[in-house]
């Protein structure tokens, strides 16, 4: 057996676990894109906003669950307001202007979040242990001598159950069915009386909730500060690989990016003789996938005609 294998597996598993979080962020993108054709660039800042609000409250001795609920309600309201004031007046506009609107929204929220709270670096403690797990001690049968972070597993579990819940929600509820109908055919959905704006409001609210969860998990891992907005840059290659419209695509894309990022950092950085390749590496991976399949792995092929 290749002696580097355990280490390779360790890196791979670590990458896959962090990939689950990317998937969670990516699902937020997919929901909004599916239902309204908007690529929501403001999601990174929504994440920061949620995390900052939560942290600012707990730092003022507010109880964990109270702070959580207040932030939750706030994110839902924020999603609904965004839908009302920005997205609805822009319905039926070109993809480019919709995207630019979210970029503007992103800038607005950035100023607001840091204006209302502050731009300092905060820590979050969700009370999840950070100790590593030695797999060989816990599961000797596997015979693998690798170390996995306990926090990564917990975070992946939380993100994973959130993803599962969302998938079930959209598969089996009336709202979910309406959402799928809307993403299939706007006109037909309106013709049978599905209120588009209500669906959009729900989707934006759900995205707000996703941002809260992802923001807290990410905040615990790295800290709550401006760098959290980079989440959007992590999510972007993920959904482009998976295809903008597919929830399974977002999951698979997240795993691919998570794994390739960690593996690239370890194995490719030597070749390129420099650290910090993960930024452009994720995008290059996405680019390679897109060159092979221009609309992502699970993306729907658009039919073009003059």
């Amino acid at each position: 057996m290749w002696e580097g294998l355990p280490f390779f597996l360790e890196v791979l598993v670590g990458g896959l676990l962090s990939g689950v979080m990317y998937s969670l962020v990516a699902i937020g993108f997919v929901l909004i894109y599916k239902s309204s054709g908007v690529f929501n660039f403001a999601q990174g800042t929504m994440l920061l906003f949620a995390a900052l609000t939560f942290v600012s409250m707990t730092e003022r001795q507010v109880n964990f669950w109270v702070a959580f609920s207040i932030t939750l309600v706030m994110m839902v309201i924020m999603g609904i307001i965004i839908e009302r004031t920005v997205m609805r007046p822009l319905a039926n506009q070109s993809l480019l202007s919709l995207f630019m609107a979210t970029v503007g929204l992103n800038y607005f929220l950035e100023g607001l979040a840091q204006g209302v709270w502050d731009s300092a670096v905060h820590g979050v403690d969700l009370g999840i242990s950070n100790d590593p797990i030695f797999l060989i001690e816990k599961f000797p049968i596997l015979g693998l001598d690798i170390i996995i972070s306990q926090f990564d597993i917990a975070a992946a579990l939380i993100a994973g159950s959130m993803i599962l819940g969302l998938t079930l929600f959209f598969q089996y509820t009336r709202t979910g069915l309406s959402l799928r109908a809307v993403s299939d055919d706007h006109m037909a959905a309106m013709a049978v009386g599905i209120p588009l704006s209500r669906i959009w409001a729900i989707v934006w609210a759900v995205t707000g909730v996703i941002c809260l969860i992802a923001g807290l998990l990410w905040g615990d891992r790295v800290s709550v500060s401006f760098t959290l907005t980079a989440a959007v840059l992590k999510g972007l290659p993920v959904i482009l690989i998976g295809g903008l419209t597919s929830i399974p695509g977002a999951i698979v894309g997240g795993l691919i990016i998570g794994a390739s990022e960690k593996l690239g950092e370890i194995y490719l950085a030597e070749i390129f003789g420099g650290q910090g390749i993960e930024h452009w590496w994720a995008y290059t991976t996405a680019l390679i996938f897109l060159m092979i399949r221009p609309t992502g792995i699970f993306g729907e092929k658009e039919i073009e005609r003059v």
Binding site: M100, V103, L105, L236, G276
Partner: protein, 368 residues
């Protein structure tokens, strides 16, 4: 406003194809450029006006124009503007630093070409990937630029701080300039930098204006409006897109070189980060997609707003009361709001507002 096109007969094709068909327009523009920009401003303005207001506005205007060529005229979204500026800045530095005989105008031109080449490389995926998916490629360019100049210190001449100072002897503009008063000390001063920036900016504006009103620009717009239809009428979509990427990134490259040499006076890859790419994109949206005038209006507004707020704050509350964080957050909120409002109310940006108000002024006060 006091003169009209009506009743003027053009008698030759050349007269019809003039950039400014009205005699008065030509007169006013020439007067403005020669007397105001080269004359009065050069003579009277202070260092602060040059280096904190005029130069950055022009440099950013050129970068905005570059992005506008790709996004506004050709419909290709790009988030890598600052990356391409970075390529341009580093190319200019290395050309000037490594080749003793190099002159600034030539170095800037070559820097533009090198950035343009990178633009073609990162634009190649555009032939296969369409629409929104393309931003991956331009973001890859952005991150690649940030990484490569960090990872390979050769480009920085191994400067340990990561920021290279640009000494006066780099500023060679024409041969034997030491024998004249316009020596390198002059070009290194803010007035000299202003003149370099102004001249290059005017040249690039004229070039762009001519491109967009000729077949090159019409092909860009055809591809933007519907590339399949453009293909059907015989426009090579691939060539047109790559051409647009090349010209766009050429402008960004030159802007990057000017950013280092004329604006901040040193070379620092940290400045050309993703935030700057976005700032340039805001300038495009605010100014107006597909408008040369708009590119500069956007640059002036987005760059000028925080300065205006700071100055107003100083004037009202006394010097230094407004802290930078407040000004920064304020301008984020204002620019963000303006972008959204413009997209909803006037997608043509400031340029369209300018045109409608010009139209209204013509008939005012007899009609609205």
């Amino acid at each position: 406003m006091y003169y009209r096109e009506a009743g003027r007969l053009v008698k030759s094709f050349a007269a019809d194809r003039r950039m400014l068909p009205l005699m008065e327009d030509r007169f006013v523009t020439t007067l403005f450029v020669v007397v105001v920009m080269y004359g009065l401003v050069t003579w009277l303005a202070s260092d602060y006006i040059f280096s904190a207001i005029l130069i950055p506005m022009m440099v950013l205007g050129v970068a905005t124009l570059g992005l506008n060529i790709a996004t506004g005229y050709t419909g290709q979204l790009s988030l890598g503007t600052a990356g391409f500026m970075c390529f341009g800045a580093f190319a200019a530095f290395n050309l000037i630093f490594r080749l003793d005989w190099m002159y600034i105008p030539l170095a800037f031109f070559l820097a533009g070409l090198i950035a343009g080449l990178m633009g073609i490389i990162f634009g190649l995926p555009a032939l296969r990937i369409k629409g929104f998916y393309l931003i991956v490629s331009t973001l890859a360019a952005q991150f690649f630029a940030e990484w490569v100049f960090n990872a390979y210190p050769w480009f920085l001449n191994y400067t340990s701080s990561g920021v290279v100072n640009l000494p006066p002897f780099h500023y060679k503009v024409f041969p034997f300039q030491e024998l004249t008063p316009l020596n390198d000390a002059f070009w290194h001063s803010s007035r000299g930098r202003y003149l370099i920036t102004l001249t290059i900016t005017i040249a690039l504006i004229v070039a762009c204006k001519n491109m967009v009103r000729s077949s090159t620009g019409r092909n860009w717009m055809a591809v933007r409006d519907m590339d399949i239809a453009a293909n059907v009428i015989g426009i090579s979509v691939a060539k047109t897109k790559l051409m647009a990427f090349f010209v766009s990134t050429f402008y960004c490259g030159v802007a990057g070189a000017m950013y280092s040499y004329c604006y901040i006076g040193n070379l620092d890859f940290m400045i050309f980060n993703l935030r700057r790419s976005f700032l340039v994109m805001f300038m495009v949206i605010v100014g107006g997609l597909g408008s040369i005038l708009g590119s500069f209006l956007g640059a002036i507004f987005v760059y000028g707003w925080p300065i205006l707020v700071t100055r107003l704050g100083d004037a009202i509350f006394g010097g230094g009361t407004l802290d930078t964080a407040f000004v920064e957050n304020n301008s984020k909120i204002v620019v963000g709001t303006i972008i959204i409002v413009l997209l909803i109310r006037e997608p043509g940006g400031f340029a369209a507002l300018w045109n409608t108000s010009k139209q209204k002024l013509r008939v005012w006060p007899f009609s609205k």
